[in-house]
């Protein structure tokens, strides 16, 4: 493969992402690069601020999964304060994270990807969006809108607001949970579960139409990393990490997220504001690519043996009997997401039945007892790490954030390379190729808002370069 340096783009790009494809001497696609173009600098400007501000501040990294940042941040501060949160607070935080997984996955499916999946990859771009879908399938969209609303209301019950609430704090949560809140959510559980299982059936019914995409959308072996209980049950909030290989064999189990630096490295890129985390044990030199691993819904269902809830487990077993124990096509991130929505709704129901949830002691108080704290949880898109160092007064001296989307960066690059190899034919690019490449990225539901930070349906331009780095062709989505 020729190592090609990018030229500056000939034309300006809009939006937050861009893709470049490199051709070799023979005219075949040799490499593909996904560029993230947004930078906001949280790791820098948080320094010098009181660590107690960090949950509220870092939630502003992302309005799509603010709860994930609130949780990872609050847990990092819990570690600095060296305290244990009260049991009721632990359950409330879990409830909020499950609400978050529901609303974020529903957004990814209905608002961002369903237009592709239901209107078609080649549908008119002017109406290939959720509003076009409202026209074509109003009842379906209404179901999705209400399901997202359900997730948001679960979040609001704990956090005080749907977005950027103040209820998740260092030491626990701000307020006890009330019976009225519990009953309000409970009253909507059945509708939510029906909507989610109907969505699963819908997705299953259309999979046959995407056989070619399933085959090339990132269907390659990789490591998978996620939280997982020692007994193999799916986990989203606490405990150790498990890594499995492409055959599902456990590589390591119950890693302490606080030790992440021992096993995860981060590489910077000359052509993206997104860093590339990698699995250190597989990287002998300066090239991070052999250390590719995947996180998020697909990784979680590959890492875990089971959800531990009856409906989701039944569907998972049946899905595995068709596609295999380890699901490697990134296209099936969609399926993994819907399964997680179902499991999350079941788990929400279970938490509501736990009397501990209503206990009134919800917050532990502490001061600086350790100079470093790491908090980790499963964000909708994968494992999220917040790592803070503070001085004796609790002022932040160093911040490192490892965001789920970043951890899929190497896999996303490989995915678009495979899609391009499958669909690019000769030196010209059609809008159809662009659509497929974009949909391959969208399968990962990248949150570029988080990772430095754009929504899944990103505007894109695509550039084809020859071995000398000269532009052969450029396509814009209009």
């Amino acid at each position: 493969m020729h190592d090609i340096h990018l030229i500056d783009p000939v034309t300006r790009i809009e939006g937050h992402a861009k893709i470049t494809l490199h051709l070799d001497e023979g005219g075949s696609v040799a490499d593909a690069r996904f560029h993230v173009t947004e930078f906001r600098g949280f790791e820098d400007f948080c320094r010098g601020r009181p660590v107690s501000e960090m949950p509220g501040l870092t939630a502003r990294t992302c309005g799509i999964c603010p709860v994930s940042h609130l949780l990872a941040s609050a847990k990092a501060v819990d570690a600095i304060h060296a305290l244990t949160v009260p049991p009721a607070a632990r359950l409330q935080r879990q409830l909020a994270n499950l609400g978050q997984i529901v609303q974020s996955h529903v957004l990814s499916f209905f608002h961002l990807s369903a237009p592709d999946l239901l209107l078609g990859m080649d549908a008119d771009p002017a109406t290939r969006n959720v509003f076009g879908l409202m026209q074509a399938e109003p009842e379906l969209v209404r179901r999705g809108v209400r399901l997202r609303q359900f997730g948001q209301e679960v979040i609001a019950a704990v956090a005080g607001e749907r977005i950027h609430g103040k209820g998740i704090v260092p030491g626990g949560v701000a307020e006890p949970f009330t019976t009225a809140q519990r009953d309000g959510i409970r009253a909507r559980l059945d509708e939510a579960l029906t909507a989610a299982t109907d969505t699963w059936q819908l997705l299953e019914s259309i999979l046959d139409g995407f056989t070619r995409e399933i085959g090339v959308f990132g269907d390659f072996p990789s490591l998978y990393l996620a939280h997982c209980r020692p007994d193999g049950t799916w986990e989203h909030y606490e405990g150790g990490l498990r890594v499995v290989d492409a055959d599902g064999a456990i590589v390591v189990d119950q890693l302490d997220p606080a030790d992440y630096r021992q096993y995860l490295g981060e590489a910077a890129n000359p052509d993206s504001y997104l860093k590339s985390p990698y699995w250190k044990a597989l990287v002998p030199d300066d090239d991070p690519r052999p250390g590719m691993y995947r996180v998020g819904p697909l990784a979680r269902i590959n890492v875990a043996e089971r959800f531990g809830t009856p409906i989701a487990d039944g569907l998972l077993d049946e899905f595995r009997s068709r596609v295999g124990r380890v699901v490697s096509s990134a296209f099936h991130y969609h399926a993994a997401r819907i399964l997680e929505v179902i499991a999350s709704i079941e788990l929400i129901g279970r938490l509501l039945d736990d009397p501990v949830l209503l206990e009134s002691r919800v917050r532990a108080q502490g001061g600086v007892n350790a100079l470093r704290g790491v908090g980790a949880s499963e964000a909708p898109r994968g494992t999220l790490f917040h790592d803070y160092r503070v001085d004796g007064d609790g002022m932040v001296t160093d911040v490192n954030l490892i965001i789920a989307t970043g951890q899929n960066e190497l896999a996303m690059n490989r995915t678009i390379l495979e899609i391009a190899r499958e669909f690019v034919d000769g030196p010209s690019l059609s809008d159809g190729v662009l659509n497929r490449v974009e949909a391959g990225i969208r399968a990962y539901d990248p949150c570029l808002s988080c990772s430095t930070h754009a929504l899944g349906q990103m505007p894109m331009s695509l550039e084809l370069l020859d071995p000398q780095g000269r532009q052969v062709c450029e396509v814009h989505r209009h």
């Binding site: 939006g15 400007f45 860093k275």
Partner: protein
């Protein structure tokens, strides 16, 4: 396309500059009222659509986020040139908010060095290829283009967004100019 009273459908856009997308998520928190909105207006541009170039002849654009890089600035100017009414949508657009916290850290170049060269495990490298350069400071929207309406909040609540949208769409579809009191950065209290 026309509605029942034969008025052309309104063309609404949203844009995402340097923000967390929380304002857009609050827009989606309009929930089923999104169907009512869709009755009155077409959404012609924004992160929820597949349209890449900012279109002509837009009636109302809600702009989330501060102007923090060259791409943001270019898009902000395209929005102003092609929109009848531009709204600063949320605190990042209105004041700079969290996005502008980087302004206290000095030169963008030095900040990029700290984040990308000093931090990573492998040989660090500055992102300079393909990506848009950072502006010296992240600025509120009205520092770069004229803004007509301010919708504060981090994010503005869905109720506030709905109140504003109804009022703005009514005014636009009746062909009325916006009342004077909606204009100017001093008015930061639209709705409740």
């Amino acid at each position: 396309m026309t509605d029942a009273t034969d008025r052309p459908r309104l063309r609404v856009a949203t844009a995402w500059l340097g923000g967390c997308s929380g304002c857009h998520m609050s827009f989606l928190d309009l929930d089923e009222w999104l169907f009512d909105l869709h009755e009155r207006a077409d959404l012609v541009f924004g992160p929820l659509t597949d349209v890449k170039t900012f279109p002509d002849d837009v009636d109302l654009t809600l702009v989330e986020g501060a102007v923090t890089n060259e791409d943001n600035l270019e898009l902000a100017r395209a929005i102003r040139a092609n929109s009848r009414v531009v709204a600063s949508f949320g605190d990042c657009a209105v004041t700079g908010n969290v996005t502008a916290l980087r302004n206290g850290m000095g030169e963008p170049q030095a900040m990029l060095e700290r984040v990308y060269v000093e931090h990573p495990d492998l040989a660090g490298v500055l992102p300079t290829e393909v990506v848009p350069g950072l502006l010296p400071t992240a600025q509120p929207l009205h520092e770069t283009i004229t803004v007509d309406v301010y919708l504060p909040g981090c994010p503005p609540s869905a109720d506030r967004i709905r109140t504003a949208l109804i009022a703005l769409l009514d005014a636009l579809s009746n062909g009325h100019p916006l009342p004077d009191e909606w204009r100017g950065p001093e008015d930061l209290t639209f709705g409740n």
